[in-house]
């Protein structure tokens, strides 16, 4: 697989939120507005990129028995650095809104998942590209989700009121249950598009491969080959 493909797979084919279904906690919790979603996504991108690079470099010498603690230390270091950077340079309102979810990037499944499933088995360049692609895919979904939720609840996008007549907030999309509903609709839409494309090209619908989904077989139930 070329380096470019390592980058683009995170955007659509192996999108961390919509295909791998990882990192659902920040996805649902912080996307009540588009700006929060984007801030969270960018912070995670920085951590993913940094940890993927470092882990692909040290993977050769880390003893197998303690690889998970070592990866966690690397990830936690990057998370603390981004937290310090946000406190000094990001707008205060953004840092306050993301709050506890910044330290929680440490236990974000995407970051550890990519370290274990990809960076520890691949070279520096492809790992860096993988981290960047996954991070940007995550950012795009979070921003999009934040835009939908913000628009449906207040009629504004990126804190700018688009529908000026909209004066009363609609609270369902801005709350956690609304987030679940909207993510579900997005997932269904994503699956439908992929399925349609497969049918159009007369291909078998193949669920994403090599994702390390050892316990989950949901993807395999959907099968358009009904013979």
């Amino acid at each position: 697989m070329s380096v470019f493909k390592e980058f683009t797979k995170g955007l659509w084919k192996e999108n961390p939120v919509l295909v791998l279904l990882l990192g659902t906690c920040p996805t649902l919790a912080v996307t009540s507005s588009s700006l929060n979603g984007m801030g969270m996504g960018l912070a995670t991108t920085f951590v993913l990129f940094g940890s993927n690079v470092v882990i692909s470099l040290i993977a050769g010498i880390v003893p197998k028995k303690i690889r998970i603690p070592v990866y966690i230390i690397v990830i936690a270091t990057f998370v603390t650095i981004i937290e310090l950077l946000m406190r000094s340079y990001a707008p205060e309102s953004l840092y306050n809104a993301l709050g506890i979810f910044i330290p929680l990037i440490v236990v974000n499944c995407i970051v550890l998942g990519r370290a274990e499933a990809f960076a520890s088995k691949n070279g520096v360049l492809s790992s860096a590209m993988d981290g960047l692609g996954m991070g940007i895919g995550f950012t795009l979904v979070l921003t999009f989700l934040g835009m939908i939720r913000e628009f449906l609840s207040t009629g504004s996008l990126f804190d700018v009121k688009v529908v000026t007549a909209w004066t009363t907030d609609f609270l369902l999309p801005a709350s956690a249950p609304g987030a679940f509903i909207i993510v579900g609709v997005l997932l269904a839409g994503m699956n439908y598009l992929n399925y349609r494309r497969a049918v159009k090209n007369h291909e078998r619908y193949i669920p994403p491969q090599g994702l390390d989904c050892r316990h989950c077989h949901i993807c395999r139930i959907i099968d358009n080959d009904k013979d």
Binding site: P63, I81, L85, R87, S153, V160, K161, L171
Partner: protein, 235 residues
């Protein structure tokens, strides 16, 4: 050296695993202390700047080094209260009271309340809150609404209003409430209307409104209790 490390990859020797983890931890600690050293100054500056912006909003003009002109006391309910004293040419122009209330709808609500020398509230700001977006947050935020028609227009100076916070403007510790009728039993004017008080509240965000009213009351009352110490002129 590198080859030796690679050979040890499958080892189960506890001393080696421990030493490896310790080495990784040390490296991480070194990286973090470097990051901390580099960001310590910008963080302090950012905090000072945001405090200064808030103080300029709640107080009338002042020209002293307000960050160091503070008085810390304990309020009646045991919570810490911090006063920032604004002076112009040595004369007190206003005092900003920083305090917090633990009983918001989701935890702590902190406020900064500007009080004029006569003991009346000039402007109230909520500096920290974690209330429900769209409900409780509307009680706390002074937010200028941008619309597509004025995105690029520079925002006009002045602090955006908030009907729940602006109701405290001009109230003093001696505020007795509006007498509505003879049989009106006003328990305390500082309670929200639902509890028999005088303060308007937001339907659906009563707990937040109560906390905000408590904060305003605490701010003026603690100011009154420490009035003599706060209003001393200083060269």
């Amino acid at each position: 050296m590198l080859n030796k490390l690679k050979e040890m990859k499958n080892t189960e020797k506890a001393w080696y695993l421990g030493a490896f983890l310790a080495a990784v931890g040390l490296l991480a600690a070194a990286a973090l202390s470097a990051a901390n050293l580099l960001t310590a100054k910008p963080i302090a500056e950012a905090q000072k700047k945001s405090l200064n912006t808030a103080l300029r909003q709640v107080l009338p003009e002042f020209d002293n080094d307000i960050g160091n002109d503070v008085l810390e006391v304990t309020a009646e309910d045991g919570s810490p209260v911090k006063f920032f004293i604004g002076r112009k040419n040595g004369k007190v122009t206003g005092v900003a009271v920083e305090t917090s209330d633990m009983n918001g709808y989701s935890g702590e609500i902190a406020s900064l309340c500007g009080i004029l020398p006569d003991g009346s509230i000039n402007l109230m700001l909520i500096t920290r809150q974690n209330e429900t977006p769209g409900l409780g947050s509307n009680v706390c935020q002074r937010k200028e609404q941008k619309t597509i028609f004025n995105v690029f227009k520079p925002s006009d100076s002045g602090i955006p209003g908030n009907v729940y916070l602006d109701q405290f403007k001009g109230l003093t510790a001696a505020y007795a409430g509006k007498k509505r009728s003879e049989e009106d039993s006003l328990t305390s004017p500082w309670l929200v209307k639902k509890d028999g008080g005088d303060m308007i509240y937001m339907t659906g965000a009563t707990i937040t409104s109560r906390a905000v009213a408590r904060l305003a009351e605490k701010s003026v009352k603690t100011f009154e209790a420490n009035r003599a110490k706060l209003l001393e002129d200083k060269k």
